[in-house]
Structures are given as C-alpha cells and as structure tokens.
C-alpha cells in the first residue's frame, strides 16, 4: 500500500453547449486503493470517466497519470499506458468468444501483440484472469450472448488483461444478483491486493469505482467522492460521506439505499 498517486484529475470542466456536465471536479486515486465516485443519476460520473480515459475532451482541467500530464493523450495511448475501464452499458466484443475478448485485449495493449509477439506471456496472463473471474465455463461462448452479470465479468477480465495500473469501473454491480455481487467485491479486493496476478505485476492496480449499490461502495472503498449536478458535494471516508447532510439531501428521493 503506497502513497503514490496513480491518477490525479484537476478541476475538470465539461460543457455541452449551455449544459455544464462537470464543473471543476478534482479527483485523486492512490496506488493500492479503491476509490469510489458516487452521485445520483446524471451527476456526471460517466462523463468524468470519459474524460479520464480520453473519450471526452474536457472544456477545462488537467489529467495527471503517474505524475505525467496526459490530458492530450488519445484513448488508446492511455489504455496502453495502463488505464483500463469498463462500461456502464456493456461494450463487449460481442461477436468474439469470451476467451478471445481477453486475448484481443492483451494483444491490443501490449507492444507488438498484434504481430503475435509475447504469445507465451499472453496465454499465461489470459488463463490467470479467466481463472480469477471464473470465466472458463463460458470461455467459448460468444460474448454477446452472455447474461449481464457474466458480461460485466468479461469486461472486467478484458480490462485486467491490459495489465492496468488503474481500473475504472463504471457501475459494475448493476445487473448482478446477490451472489455475483458478493463474489465481485471479493474479486475487487483480490485485484487490489495483488491477488489477480502474483507473477507478472509488480504493483497491483488502483480502482476507481462508479457504483449505485451503496452497500458495495461502502464495503470496498477507502475514499469516496460524491458528485451532484456536476459538482463535488462531499468527499472522505465511507463513514464521513455517510454522515454528510448534503449527501443525504442530494440522495433524497433517490432509491439507492442510502
């Protein structure tokens, strides 16, 4: 558990025409930690993810990754550098098998992978991730045919196969049943503690988690940032956030178990 800052977003602002989606939102994720990003629907969480991974150009602000300003990097460069994400609405490679989803991800994120370099390494890593997420039983199913729960696991596996330093998970718990959620939080902890990959990876990835399932968030996150209408309204430990009156007000009427 280090104090190294993996990801630092400074005063990110995004405007769509007259609509302010994000206003000077800052965010920090430390190595070895699971950070939570929560807020009611439409608060700007996914927009923030899109800014961090380069899919959305911000109107203002800066993104630092491992001490480097990556604000101008295209998405694929961020992916190769170790930022991986999942999507709120599943974005699987639906016509590939589950196994090939992971293989393609490894090949795309590793230098020379698309030319077939590092095959041995790839086989080992993909097998490891398949094992960790219990994906072998569906290895040869087409990703597009899976249940949402399994689909989320495949997205997570695909992200892990890029050997990320940070994982951005966009509502990974939605569509999971109770069993799957329990398994999922165990997997998250395993990932952060380095259990996902004892051999290949020196530093386990940090995680930034967007999630509506408050039990899950409170359970796994060490720090939480709360967004509402594109602004940060609170941040702190789960305990602090839970007791914050602004947060309670923002969530009033929002059936998220708060």
């Amino acid at each position: 558990m280090g104090t190294e800052t993996v990801l630092l977003a400074g005063e990110i602002t995004v405007r769509f025409g007259g609509l302010v989606a994000l206003e000077e939102v800052s965010l920090e994720v430390q190595a070895g930690c699971i950070a939570g990003l929560i807020g009611p629907n439409g608060a700007g969480k996914t927009t923030m993810f899109n800014v961090l991974t380069g899919l959305q150009e911000p109107t203002g602000g800066q993104v630092d990754y491992l001490g480097q300003d990556i604000s101008r990097w295209p998405p694929h460069r961020r992916g190769r550098a170790g930022m991986a994400r999942t999507f709120q609405r599943l974005a699987l490679f639906s016509r590939l098998t589950v196994h090939d989803n992971l293989v393609a991800s490894w090949e795309s994120s590793h230098r020379g992978g698309v030319l077939g370099r590092g095959r041995g390494e790839r086989v080992a890593r993909v097998a490891e991730v398949m094992e960790l997420l219990d994906l072998w039983p569906v290895a040869d199913r087409l990703a597009g045919e899976l249940s949402t729960g399994k689909g989320r696991m495949v997205e997570l596996g695909r992200a892990l196969c890029t050997d990320p330093r940070i994982l951005l998970l966009d509502e990974p718990g939605s569509g999971l049943d109770a069993n799957e959620t329990a398994m999922f939080s165990a997997v998250l902890r395993a990932i952060v503690s380095g259990g996902s990959d004892p051999r290949h990876q020196a530093t386990p990835p940090a995680i930034l988690l967007v999630e509506h399932d408050m039990a899950l968030v409170m359970d796994v996150c060490s720090s939480i940032t709360v967004l509402d209408f594109g602004k940060v309204i609170a941040r702190g430990t789960p305990g602090q956030v839970r007791g914050d009156p602004t947060v309670r007000a923002a969530y009033l009427g929002d059936a998220s178990g708060f």
Binding site: A91, R95, W136, V138, D140
Partner: protein, 672 residues
C-alpha cells in the same frame, strides 16, 4: 452582369428539381431511417412509366399524370414500405445494401418491362421562351418547373409544420415506441412518408428526363446530385436541403460558364460529389444517424444473434478441438479446390478460359471488399476506383513506357495506398451511411476528375495493355495468364485466411464490434482503419493491373462508379464475411460475362438484385444458404441413433478450455 442571368436561370431550374429529390431523400430518412440510394432509380422508373402512358399509349397528360401520381407512385411507395418494414432498426450496412439492391433491381427491371429502345420524354411545359428585359430569355418549361417545385416544396413544408401528419411524423421519428403508445400510428406515418417520397421521385423523373434524356443510368446518376444538399440539411432539414440544392444548381451552372473544357470542366461535373465529400468531412462528428435511440439496442442484439449463428453452432457442437479440425478442413477444401483450379485450362476451351480468368481476377478484387466491409466493418462504394487506378497506372507503365509488369503493378499499388488512406479519412469520424456516401462521392470524383482525363485513360477509346512477362516467362497465352492470376489469387486468399485467424483478424473484429471499447484497451483506431483501407486499396489495385492485362484494352467505363456498387452486391450475394463469398462473387461475374443469350442476360442482374435484397441480412450470403440447405438434407439422411451418440462423443471433457466448449448443456449450465 447580364451574361450571367441565363446561367442563373438554368441553375435555379436544375437546382429546383434536385431540391425536390433532396427533400424526397430526407423525408424517408427522417421518418423511416432509410437513406434511399435507389431514389434516382425510382425517379427513372416513374419517368419511363410516364413515357409508356403518355408517349407510347397516347394518353393525354390529364390522364397519364393522375395515373402516375395517384396510382403508380403510391403503389411503388407501399411496396417499398413493405420491403423495408421487416428491416426497421437493422444496421446501416444492411439498409444500404438493400437500397442499392433496389437500385439495381429497378435498373434491371426497366429494360425488361419497357424495352431497350432509345426514347425521349417531352417536356410537360411548353419549351418556348419569353423575353425578360432586352437580352434575357426564359423558357416556359424552366419557369414552370421552378414554380411547381417551389409550390410542392412549400406544400410539403406546410404539411409537416401545420398538420397532424407533421406532428405525428416528428413524434414517430423522435420515439417510435412512445409515439405508438400515445396513439400515433407509426405505420401510417411511415407509409405516408414512403408514398410522398415516391410521388416526389415521380415528379423529379418527369421534370428532369426531358433535359437529361430518358436513360436508365443517366437518371440514376443525376439524382446523386441531390445527395449533397440532403447532407447539407443533415438529412433531417427539408428547407436546408431544398435551399442547398438551389445553391448547388446555381453554382454548378455558373461554373459551366467558364468551364467549357479541360480540368475545370471535369471539376464542374464533379462539383456535386466534391461538395458531398467535403460536407461529410467538415460536418463529420455532428452528423448523427437516424434511429440512434432505443431501437439501435435491439438492433445490436439482433445483429449479433444473426451473425453469431454459424459461429455458435461451430463452438457449441464441436468444441475447440473440432473447431481447429474444422478450420483445417476449410483450408483443406480451399487448397484442394485451388489445386483442381490449376487444371482448369486442360478442361476448358481457350476463349472460355478468358472468362474464367475474369472470374478469378474479380474474386481477387472482391476479396478486398470482404476484408474491408465483411471483416473490418467499413463500407466502401469505391473499391473499383482502386481497380481503375491499378489498371491505368500499370497499363501505362507496362504498355507505352515498356516497364516490367512487376514494377508496374508495384507502382500501381504504391499509388493506391495513399488514395486508400484518403478514402479512409472520412471513416475516422463517420461510419455506416455517411461513410458509404463519402466513398460513393470519392468514386464519382475519380470518374469525373481522374478517369475522364484523356492523358490518364485515353478517353473513351481507352488504352491498350500488354500481357505480362515476368522473369523471362511470358504470360501472354490464355492458359499461362490464367495460371498466373490463379496463383496470385491463391496466395492472397491464403494470406487473408491466415490473417483472419490471428491477432490482426481479432483486431478487425473488435474495431467492428465496439470501436470505443477497442480504443480503451489500446487499439489505435486511426491507424487500424487507415491501414485496412490502404491495404485493401493496394490489393484492389493489384487486381486492377491484372484486370487491365487480361482485358488488354481498358476504358474509363470499366471502372465507373456503378461497377463498385455491382461489386458490393455480388460480394453480399456470395457472402461478405467469408473468403468463399469472394469466390462466389467472382464466379457470378464470370457467368455474367459468359452468357450470351440476351434473354438470360437481361434477367440475370434482376435475379442478382433480388437475391441480394433477400440475403442482405446474412453476412455469409449464399455460403450460409448453401450450408443450411446441405445440413438440412444431411439431417434427413442421417440415422437417428448414431446422430445423438456421434455428437456426444465429440464433446471434449476435462482439460481447461475444452470444458467450456462442451455442448449447449454443459456450457449454458455453468454459465448461469
């Protein structure tokens, strides 16, 4: 100043007709989500029908017009609606293919129904002129056309603006499901849109034919002029589309004042396509495809299910080991077929061998479209432009410049690569329909600006190309040339096959399935797409150098924009996602050249078009059809008890991956 007035009038006259066409195209796109590539063909069909009614059967305009507008056009509209109804919400690719299929079908149908003789359609307004000022004469037909067009445009606009039909249309466009719930009948709206759009097409047809000539290909082409203004209105705004058409008409007309010959004249002819290409690039990200809302989701899943069909059976039934075997079987079949094909010269008489060579070269060209469209998901309506580049460059070099054929072909490929990148550029910001339009514009620009130049193509007489000599071997004979192209095709096909199974194949697939997700795992979409376009362009140019050498004399007509559409249709027919699809495309092309019977020659394109429309949703086209039928026959023949045990024993058990692949029961049981 006064010398410009006539050009202004002509510009407004043609522009107002294009304006009608642009509005007709926009109307169905915004209400039904179908961009009607066949719009010109529909206008053409209606114009021929009018000719039949009026000029051939001698009905007066007062009888012929109502028949055309109140019977023929609505019936055609309803037929189109019925055709597209089951396709609602499908991927852009399928809709494009179907609408090009309709274009081909109507183009093939007209000569069959109305005969092939030359004819002209009289203008519906008197062609005499009246003076306006001292030097300035305006034709009554020009004025009449402009007034009719303005009136009709205004009526449509008012209809959409101030009537229940208008609000219903907007509701049905915004959210079809919700509109249904509040009592807007989507079906009625869609049908009205098709009928109105077809009536507009009929009007366009009879207004434009008197000046442009009543010719199948000519009329299909002119209406493409209207695509640029339609895009200018972002395919949703009727007024913008109409105004854009007027402006374009005037600009083209004014340009024609200066440009009588040479490069400028070519530019004038190409202006609408240049405008289309430029608009698509400039408007880029701001162009949204229709029906992007809820419907698209169901589409994605439906598509997946459809496309996964073959793969799923493959995986569920035979498992990984069997899968490998099966792939090898595929390769074996291919190689055996190839080996047999090498002996074709012994069995086929000489002149016919040329036709077989055509089929092989065509299959090589078709293969590039399989990779580009079937595998990488990038639609191209310009693939034959690359063939043309290859043919002319290699033809000039190996012909008049006496270069070695290999050098000539390599240079041709080297020139095709940057052109491929140029065509690929729009794909960085556009996909589906807009990419298709951009590539179509590119093909037309190449036709008008490059292939039309006599120093490039030798004009309509064309250029002559010698058969190749490679490393001292002469391939001037029919048999030796056949062997040469067969070997080249075999090498390229095996290479494509190997690439398909490896990391690059996976990369193409993921860029196609989810470009967004692919980019976040590290795929450089820009590089990937441009490389695919460049490589496919290069191989098409290679095919072009052989095409030229095979034909020995080539003209611009061999590579006209419509040849690219035919290529797409044949590839879809064969199967756009499989190499054997390219082989079938080549075979069909070969058969078309072989057949001399005029009857069959007339009906074959129609049959192909109908086949394409029927198979548009099936990525493996005829291949899938053949496989399905074979399996059906076999399943009848197979004795029952052996069947179940046979399947069972193929399910691997135990070790790692094989577990997952073990049949539906095991796989799905653990999956949920």
């Amino acid at each position: 100043m006064s010398q410009y007035w006539p050009f202004l009038v002509i510009g407004l006259f043609t522009g107002s007709i294009y304006g009608l066409a642009a509005m007709g195209v926009v109307l169905t796109y915004k209400t039904v989500g179908v961009f009607n590539f066949a719009y010109g063909a529909i206008a053409m069909f209606c114009a021929f029908t009018y000719w039949q009614l009026h000029d051939s059967w001698g009905l007066t305009a007062w009888v012929a017009m109502p028949i055309l507008f109140l019977v023929v056009a609505p019936v055609l509209g309803v037929l189109l609606e019925a055709l597209y109804l089951p396709l609602a919400g499908l991927s852009a690719e399928v809709l494009i293919v179907v609408s090009i299929g309709v274009l081909a079908a109507l183009s093939a149908l007209v000569p069959i129904v109305y005969g092939k003789q030359d004819r002209t359609l009289q203008a519906i307004f008197p062609t005499s002129t009246f003076a306006l000022g001292a030097h300035f004469h305006v034709g009554y037909d020009q004025l009449g056309t402009l007034l009719v067009s303005l009136a009709v445009a205004a009526v449509l606009w008012a209809l959409l603006r101030h009537t229940r039909f208008g609000t219903s249309t907007r509701a049905a466009v915004d959210n079809p499901d919700l509109a249904d719930m509040v009592g807007v009948h989507g079906d009625n709206v869609r049908r009205s849109a098709w009928i109105l759009s077809t009536m507009f097409a009929a009007l366009v047809g009879i207004l434009i034919s008197p000046t442009q000539g009543l010719d199948v290909n000519q009329l299909v082409l002119v209406v493409i002029y209207a695509f640029a203004p339609a895009v200018f209105g972002r395919l949703v705004s009727l007024p913008l589309a109409y105004i854009g058409a007027l402006v374009l008409g005037v600009v083209v007309s004014l340009l024609s004042k200066w440009a009588n010959s040479g490069t400028l004249a070519n530019l004038e002819a190409a202006l609408p396509y240049l405008a289309l290409f430029a608009l698509l690039i400039i408007m880029g990200g701001r162009l949204k495809e229709a029906g992007a809302s809820s419907r698209r989701l169901s589409v994605a899943t439906r598509n997946t299910a459809g496309m996964g069909g073959g793969v799923r059976t493959r995986h569920w039934i035979v498992g990984v080991l069997g899968w490998r075997l099966r792939l090898e079987r595929k390769l074996t079949v291919g190689l055996v077929g190839f080996a047999l094909a090498l002996f074709v010269p012994m069995a086929v008489p000489g002149p016919r061998l040329i036709d077989v060579s055509y089929a092989v070269v065509y299959a090589l060209i078709a293969l590039t479209l399989v990779v580009l469209t079937g595998w990488a998901g990038q639609i191209s309506l310009a693939q034959f432009a690359f063939v043309g580049v290859g043919a002319f460059v290699a033809g000039h070099l190996s012909g008049s410049h006496g270069q070695h054929f290999v050098v000539a072909a390599l240079v041709a490929m080297a020139i095709a690569a940057p052109l491929g990148i140029l065509v690929g550029l729009p794909s960085l910001r556009l996909s589906g329909l807009y990419l298709a339009l951009a590539t179509l514009a590119f093909a037309l620009i190449m036709d008008n600006v490059v292939f039309n130049r006599s120093d490039v193509s030798g004009g309509l007489t064309g250029i002559t190309v010698p058969r190749p000599q490679i490393f001292g071997l002469s391939f001037s004979g029919r048999a030796s040339f056949y062997e040469l192209v067969m070997v080249v095709f075999g090498v390229v096909a095996v290479a494509a096959y190997a690439v398909r199974l490896g990391p690059i194949g996976r990369r193409l697939q993921i860029v196609r399935d989810s470009p967004l997700a692919a980019s976040t795992v590290g795929v450089n979409l820009t590089v990937t797409k441009l490389v695919v376009f460049a490589v496919c362009g290069m191989v098409a140019a290679l095919g072009g150098s052989f095409y030229g050498a095979l034909q020995q004399a080539i003209t611009p007509l061999d590579f006209m924009w419509s040849t690219s559409l035919t290529l797409l249709l044949l590839v879809v027919l064969g199967g756009r996602s499989v190499i054997s699809g390219a082989v079938i495309a080549g075979a069909v092309f070969g058969i078309e050249t072989v057949i001399s019977n005029p009857q069959i020659h007339q009906y074959l394109p129609l049959a192909i078009a109908v086949g394409v429309i029927a198979l548009a949703q099936e990525p493996e086209g005829t291949v899938a059809l053949a496989r399905r039928e074979t399996l059906r026959v076999l399943s009848v023949l197979r004795p029952l008890p052996r069947r179940s045990s046979g399947r069972g024993s193929e399910i691997p058990s135990g070790a790692d991956m094989a577990v997952a692949a073990g049949g539906p029961s095991v796989g799905s049981g653990r999956g949920h």
